[in-house]
Amino acid sequence: MKNKLKPLRANKGWTQAELAMQLDVSRQTIIAIEKGKFDPSLPLAFKAARLFELSIEEIFDDQDPS
């Protein structure tokens, strides 16, 4: 699943570790989500959406890129 976590995090000027701390996950989880290797759970997606004051759809895109 594609997502905009990396640019959103960069806009806020946060490091991966800082974002991880705010979302209560490990830095490895943030790295994996940003790379699209791990899809977050619904509660984590909601948490991220609340943190960035966006909707889940604005951050995560489940459409096939092809």
Binding site: V25, S26, Q28, T29, I31, A32, K37, P40, S41
Partner: protein, 143 residues
């Protein structure tokens, strides 16, 4: 190589998760120690006439410590970071599959009288190795 070391050492987990994992490790170490102690004492026949009583007592102690390992592991799984939890579940599934396939393959082979069947300790070793491989490959895949 760096990624492999990070995968083995589980770098980056929150302190609470590391604390829970350490608790599991300590209980597992204690369980293994009580298992070894029980086996050695039974082999040596240390307690003379009271052998059977002590054997049963040691087996109960080993069982209770084993239950603590399971409880600590379950607590760790419930509290751990969600990606690590997914990796743990995959590793557990791999361990079960390895045990199932290993045992069934050995049963077929022993039936054909080619080799002797796997005993319980071999199954535990297979499960442990598969679980560790599952953890490391899972972490590498996600990194």
């Amino acid at each position: 190589m760096g990624k492999l070391i990070e995968a083995v050492l589980v770098k980056g987990l929150p302190p609470a998760d590391i604390k829970n994992a350490n608790k599991v490790n300590l209980w597992a170490l204690l369980w293994a120690s009580t298992l070894i102690a029980t086996m050695l004492m039974q082999d040596a026949g240390t307690f003379g006439l009271m052998d059977q009583v002590f054997s049963i007592t040691l087996a109960i102690i080993n069982l209770l410590v084993g239950v603590k390992v399971v409880i600590a592991y379950r607590r760790m799984l419930l509290d751990v970071d969600e990606m690590e939890r997914a990796i743990q579940y995959n590793a557990l599934a791999l361990a079960v599959a390895a045990a199932f396939l290993g045992y069934s393959a050995s049963a077929i082979l022993s039936n054909a009288a080619s080799v002797s069947g796997l005993d319980g300790s071999a199954i535990i070793v297979i499960m442990s190795v598969a679980y560790c491989c599952g953890l490391v490959t899972g972490r590498l895949r996600m990194s």
